[in-house]
Symmetry: C2
């Protein structure tokens, strides 16, 4: 089973203080790019893999989705998600994406935000999602970028001219990375971008769009602290079709 | 027109001393991975984009290709390529990949080794190659990896424990990079991996395989100096189908 760090009290408390936890989609700078990769939502049957507080699930319904199923491994997240809506076409369930079972040919859209980097057996998950989509259905997800995840000791350094750099190492060494983000001992799974894309292709997906998200000029004007995202990719957004 | 650095006498002299120039495909550690991405060669009509000394063009004929057209912008490279063979099914021509014209629906395979990072208008080239392939035809190429190309001052640094790191910056700043590799002022075109893959997809290609090449244990046993390639990806190998 996936490490369920979100039910760790300290992690959960710190997580709930993040801008993206408090402001939802509006607090996630990559959201406009991710939204641009989504199909028209009206009438779609949607599954939200790692739904967290349910921000996306609720947005999907507001954007016209016929029904949304939000899945998460964390009881605490699901509790918050359920408290956020009494929409009968919006349902939440506990599920470990590491060993999830989904009904075949059911969903028009599978969505996932920043959850897949916790998954060890991503090939099995991609096979399950592919089977669960209708033909022509779409998987749209964000994941921590391999360049962000790879280093033994991730963090910025500064060169002789005082300019920020991201010292990369261990890129080809795939496997777990343990970091202390919001709590100690958070385990993520590093794989190269090639491995990730090939896993999608091997599961039967066609790659439709790949976005190594970086801030626009408007993003930088609104949130100058995003300037560091110019130096190295932190997030990867992918759209793939069944 | 692309900078024709290969006809710079100093560059050409230094280039001709590289292991990969003297040993050909056997001197290129990524060749086995690239070869594994190629279709069965027997009977294929092949174009080699940036053929250099013609190592691949000759290999393709030996592997059974019906005909091979090698194209390069450098007269010096073509001279060496022509001197290496008198095979009538192997032809060479001068062409600037930046503004190349190719006959429609002609080739089963378009191949390119470490040439595309010199190209500014890669979208136009991909459109031309797509049109020149038969339906189901394949484009297989290697290119310098964006992580390798991005930094202002590419080079290794060493951390406090004496471990090698690749300080990355400017990843999201696409555009020319001027380096002093074999000669001063070599101009390459940095684009993100996402931009590269989307350009292929937008040209009509389906991404078939993406390999951010790294050394195998056997590679490391044979050439210990390849160990640094574990820390960051230097080359990107891509296979795409029309």
């Amino acid at each position: 089973m996936t490490q369920n760090i979100y039910d760790d009290p300290r992690f959960f408390e710190n997580y709930s203080r993040l801008v993206r936890s408090q402001q939802g989609l509006a607090g996630a700078p990559e959201w406009p790019a991710l939204r641009a990769m989504l199909p028209a939502m009206v009438g779609l049957t949607v599954v939200d893999l790692g739904c967290g507080y349910g921000w996306f699930s609720r947005w999907a319904r507001e954007a016209g989705a016929a029904s949304v199923l939000g899945l998460d491994v964390s009881e605490k997240m699901l509790e918050r998600a359920r408290a956020g809506s009494n929409d009968p076409a919006l349902s939440y369930a506990r599920a470990d994406l590491e060993q999830i079972d989904l009904p075949a040919a059911t969903f028009d859209l599978a969505y996932s935000s920043l959850a897949f980097h916790y998954i060890d057996n991503l090939r099995a998950l991609f096979a399950t999602v592919h089977r669960a989509l209708v033909p022509g259905g779409r998987l749209v997800f964000s994941i921590e970028h391999p360049v962000f995840m790879a280093p033994r000791q991730p963090g910025w350094s500064v060169d002789a001219q005082g300019r920020r750099q991201w010292p990369l190492d261990s890129y080809q060494r795939e496997g777990p990375r343990v970091t202390n983000w919001l709590a100690d001992g958070v385990v993520k799974q590093h794989r190269t971008l090639g491995t990730l894309l090939n896993a999608l292709i091997d599961a039967g997906f066609t790659i439709a769009h790949v976005d190594e998200w970086g801030p626009s000029d408007a993003d930088l004007a609104a949130r100058p602290e995003l300037a560091e995202e110019i130096e190295r990719p932190m997030m990867l957004l992918v759209s793939a079709t069944r």
